[in-house]
């Protein structure tokens, strides 16, 4: 296996893990099947376009992304999602409608055509015996550091403990003073914002268009099916298996074979191990 293929695999796993993280939070913690998750990836990818349209300097892409995606997520949470906690099927239908609304809104503003943005870190780095895009190396390192920080936070933070309490026993959580409504809203916005950040990261490497989110939603969902809900290890294993399978089959045969292999593995897991590899005890 060539070193470029290995690095591409790491890139695919890292970016998919970031996208699936948000879906895992929103679905795993809040029981909201967010069919609009891919649209938050799409809005995040449009952040450089929005930044340029507003005449702002390029270094403001990150705050523009966080503010735009966060504001849209908060608006949706306050108006729709807060009424649907614990109602998984209703949330699926509602967020499916929201996904259409978001795609149409973006198409209305920016048009249906493809957008492209420049790579913020140009050039290559010599890594594992090959030249590899410096931007991708920076992103891989950033995602690794981000997940390490998240794992530390998840183990140590009082807020993470409160989220676990809210998920495990919401009535008791409220009884001991936890504002579960605010915590749910914050979790939803955080989950959507991580999807937006993934979109911003992917923007220089993909074609940006209103329909782009659907593919990410499906692959994230498959990653959760394989990895299971409730643990970062499961998320990592699920994304590694899904992104790895797709990359290997895609490189060896074709992208279509890659998708078929991912679908086959997901069906196997749904059949033989429906809670995934590392599900929490819920």
């Amino acid at each position: 296996m060539s070193s470029v293929l290995v690095l591409n695999l790491v890139w695919q796993v890292g970016t998919l893990a970031l996208i699936a993280l948000g879906l895992a939070i929103v679905f795993g913690q809040l029981r909201i099947m967010n069919m609009a998750h891919g649209e938050f990836v799409m809005i995040g990818a449009y952040a450089p376009v929005i930044t340029a349209a507003l005449g702002l300097p390029g270094w403001l892409q990150l705050p523009v992304c966080v503010i735009t995606v966060g504001a849209v997520a908060l608006l949706i949470e306050r108006t729709v999602i807060r009424h649907l906690y614990g109602r998984m099927f209703d949330s699926l239908l509602a967020t499916w409608g929201i996904s259409i609304l978001l795609r149409e809104a973006v198409e209305l503003i920016f048009g249906r055509g493809y957008q492209s943005v420049a790579v913020p870190v140009p050039g290559t780095l010599y890594l594992l015996g090959a030249d590899y895009p410096a931007y991708r190396v920076v992103v891989i390192a950033g995602i690794a550091a981000g997940f390490a920080a998240l794992a530390w936070w998840n183990a140590r933070s009082k807020v993470a403990g409160r989220i676990k309490a809210m998920v495990g026993n919401p009535d008791l959580a409220r009884a001991i003073g936890i504002n579960t409504g605010r915590l749910s809203a914050a979790s939803f916005v955080f989950g959507c914002t991580t999807a937006g950040l993934a979109g911003l990261i992917l923007a220089p490497t993909v074609r940006i268009e209103p329909m782009m989110g659907l593919d990410y939603l499906i692959r994230s969902f498959f990653a959760l099916v394989v990895g299971g809900l409730g643990s970062l290890e499961g998320l990592g294993l699920g994304t590694a298996i899904i992104a790895g399978t797709q990359s290997l089959f895609g490189a060896a045969l074709s992208q279509t074979h890659g998708y078929l292999a991912v679908l086959f593995i997901s069906i196997l897991f749904l059949w033989l191990k429906p809670n995934g590899i590392r599900s929490s005890s819920r």
Binding site: G161, K164, L172, R174, A175, I176, G177, I178, S281, R282
Partner: protein, 227 residues
């Protein structure tokens, strides 16, 4: 009697079905109100209405003179109302330590480890893997260490060994001596009479007996319980 908690003609239940009707009662600082009645008469429903887990249909609940009827459970907790539910009383997937240290404004639990040493031995064990009685003790201690002025405890002694029930009684008396008002719901009348200084009996969701410990006789309690 200056009311720490004042419940005024409270009616409520689940969705459109009312379970308690026109209940009025006051709890003063240092008072332990024993709430009793047969199964299904509305004791837990009344506790949940007071705690904020259920919204009343009519009536008013005042805590420290302030109406809390429209407030959520977490807001009532911030105003000093501690609650131990009858079921789902611990976070099963979390350790004993996390259960004890999670909430807001609480004292260290160490002072309670002398009375309930099993907790200290099992700090890293998941609460869900403990026996029913041990989970009751964990929930009891968690409620005790909260910095609250009013405690509502729903059958804390259920499944607990007699010696630990005696320790619970001592803890409740101490909290009452320190000025906390307590509503204690119990089926264990020995425990209840050991701690309570006043009683409220419910039957079919309505008050059927009330009075101070000196006024209410065993016969009246037995009659209310239909023993």
């Amino acid at each position: 009697m200056s009311g720490l908690l004042a419940i005024d003609t409270l009616t409520g239940g689940y969705h459109d079905t009312n379970v308690v009707f026109d209940v009025s009662v006051q709890v003063a600082p240092g008072q332990v109100l024993g709430l009793f009645g047969r199964n299904g008469v509305g004791k837990t429903t009344l506790a949940r209405l007071v705690q904020g887990g259920l919204r009343p249909a009519t009536g008013d609940i005042r805590l420290g003179g302030r109406s809390v009827t429209g407030l959520a459970a977490y807001e009532r907790r911030a105003l000093g109302l501690g609650y131990m539910p009858q079921t789902g009383m611990v976070f099963d997937d979390m350790s004993v330590r996390d259960n004890l240290y999670l909430g807001e404004n609480r004292c260290p639990p160490d002072a309670y480890f002398d009375r309930f040493p099993r907790l200290a031995e099992r700090l890293d064990q998941k609460a869900g893997s403990m026996s029913g009685g041990e989970r009751k003790i964990l929930a009891f201690v968690r409620t005790m260490i909260e910095d609250t002025g009013l405690l509502v405890l729903d059958e804390p002694s259920e499944g607990v060994q007699p010696e630990n029930i005696d320790h619970m009684a001592d803890c409740l008396k101490e909290r009452a001596r320190d000025g906390a008002g307590i509503i204690l719901i119990e089926q264990n009348m020995t425990f209840l009479t050991q701690v309570a200084d006043s009683y409220l009996g419910l039957d079919a969701g309505r008050v059927c007996l009330r009075g101070d410990a000196g006024e209410v006789t065993d016969g009246q309690i037995k009659a209310a319980l239909a023993i």
